[in-house]
Symmetry: C3
Subunit: 259 residues, 3 copies
Amino acid sequence: MPTAGVRRITLLTDFGTADGYVAAMKGVIAAILPAAIIDDASHEIAPGDIRSAAWALAGYWRLYPPDTIHVVVVDPGVGGPRRALVARIDDRFFVGPDNGVLTPVLVDASSATLVEIDPSLAGDVVSATFHGRDLFAPAAARLAGGVDPAVFGPTVFDPVMFDVPRAVRSDGGVEGVIMHVDRFGNLITNIPAHWVDGTLRVCVSSREVPVGRTYADVEPGQPIALAGSRGLLEIAVREGSAATTLAAAAGDRVVADAG
Amino acid sequence: MPTAGVRRITLLTDFGTADGYVAAMKGVIAAILPAAIIDDASHEIAPGDIRSAAWALAGYWRLYPPDTIHVVVVDPGVGGPRRALVARIDDRFFVGPDNGVLTPVLVDASSATLVEIDPSLAGDVVSATFHGRDLFAPAAARLAGGVDPAVFGPTVFDPVMFDVPRAVRSDGGVEGVIMHVDRFGNLITNIPAHWVDGTLRVCVSSREVPVGRTYADVEPGQPIALAGSRGLLEIAVREGSAATTLAAAAGDRVVADAG
Amino acid sequence: MPTAGVRRITLLTDFGTADGYVAAMKGVIAAILPAAIIDDASHEIAPGDIRSAAWALAGYWRLYPPDTIHVVVVDPGVGGPRRALVARIDDRFFVGPDNGVLTPVLVDASSATLVEIDPSLAGDVVSATFHGRDLFAPAAARLAGGVDPAVFGPTVFDPVMFDVPRAVRSDGGVEGVIMHVDRFGNLITNIPAHWVDGTLRVCVSSREVPVGRTYADVEPGQPIALAGSRGLLEIAVREGSAATTLAAAAGDRVVADAG
């Protein structure tokens, strides 16, 4: 375990902020570790949407420095039999319910050690509805203070993982799905961008979209397929929304072939 | 007055963020105290909704460590005769307009000292529309820097308090109201959860709801009454919204009786 | 160049938070400068709305202390020919695309030095869609760590500026436009508030609005024209929305005359 220097804590939840739940988590952290540095990742994940939380997390967890503590609480199963986890994955820490939200992190990682938080070691009474405040925030603060994950409880060898659809490549072309629609209406697929070049035509919603390098390669209002910021094929509309223009949504099929 | 170590500042407003008002407050704080640690509690309180701000604040103020400065600016009366306050309540500081938003804090506190901010001591010109920037942010920064509340002005003995409806208990049962509907559609009542057990039936919107311990005690889509995270009776729908399913809203009557 | 003490970084974007883009920027900053203090200004600027970002920025940039780094990424032209800028303006730093968003800052400044970020110096591969993560966050972190802006690339002498409509004053009165409608529905004009006094009547949307000092000068639901928090004439409705009540929007004409 590395020595503790500045260990930043990030928070990702579906709580919104207006009910005070996020502030309660921050208060618990600050009470344990007064100088804690807390970054809001987001609190605007749709309620209970574990896959969107996993998507967001995949985009930032490794950009933070080693020893960062990533707290992820999208927790529709709170109070039920689902386990509470602390994990150390590729030199970062993760804290949250065992509900599959770590799937893309684990798929991408070289090393992972997961531990179940034993609620009986949590000290004060733990509510049945708000483990973000009662289990996960204290665990994050203690990790940030240098505590070893092993103290929280027994090792977990079978974390919940959900299926991640994979794009397939054949002689004739490539087939994948839209994994995520972002705030701008960009359609982000599971197709590695380097699989597709200008010799292929990309089709989504029965519409052919040209392949380019940047939004500026087409006129405003026109669609383009390009390499997105995570190296995945993305369909965008310049200065517009591809989701609206192409009437497309997460789960829709995207193909690229020689036409 | 304790010595100043790390004094964290929390901000709760109805400003949203897009107009730059919140950033203006943060800038004023940073200019006075460059190393200030500022936590966003929320800026998504509905415009002018003092009671929702009071509800949110009640959920986190005491979880923060002693000497934290809680700034609460939901201020429809800005520029009018309402007073501007600095308070020290149970070892935390509070800053904001005197409009009742501290009611649940004061009801719950053991000790409270309140002071009116004398605008003539505020130094620069104070606008008639943005005391968050001109009075409250500077006061928060000065408190975080160790200034004594007494320097801000005269003591206030009659802070504005609003009525808080209380649940009533009789031989036959319990009666209360829905105090707050959260982002998940949970209906949080003013009934202490320990007043209700499985021998009572809970009714809201002419519908009987079973009493349980956790969301997982019912099937998805079904309602349940349980102890919420503040120790109050709460009606939830597993993986759904009780507000929608039961067509219930804040202010609605909730009863628990022997059936 | 002053020596680096605590250099706070502010972030203003149109990214929302749910997609993880903002957290990616924070992670990049933290990886370069682990103790960085990052303030969220806003991530709720409407997608691509450069003028609203400029408006928000104008309200806070100078309130922050010298050496603050203001990052502004509303960047519909990302990946195209638009330049990426680092600027030092009146002792603060600015980082973001060269798209006019600095217009009100530059109009108001005494001194400004702008530099184009040379992407070939940026080190790792720079994506065509997310310069917030790949160019602007690293630049902000390096500035916060004390790096001189000049190292980023060549000086820029012709930053993009957009036209800012100016109010005009004649013998008979004053004429301006609504520049911004805020979350509360306040209509903020480009008319200096000290141009208007009670001897003039203010008209917007064919309706005459009395001039006052504070919201409390009229009854709830009634409109009033007053000096807003930036010294500009503002039309508000007490405990209501002037935008709704007066059916007014940004760009609408506002006149003040002797009646």
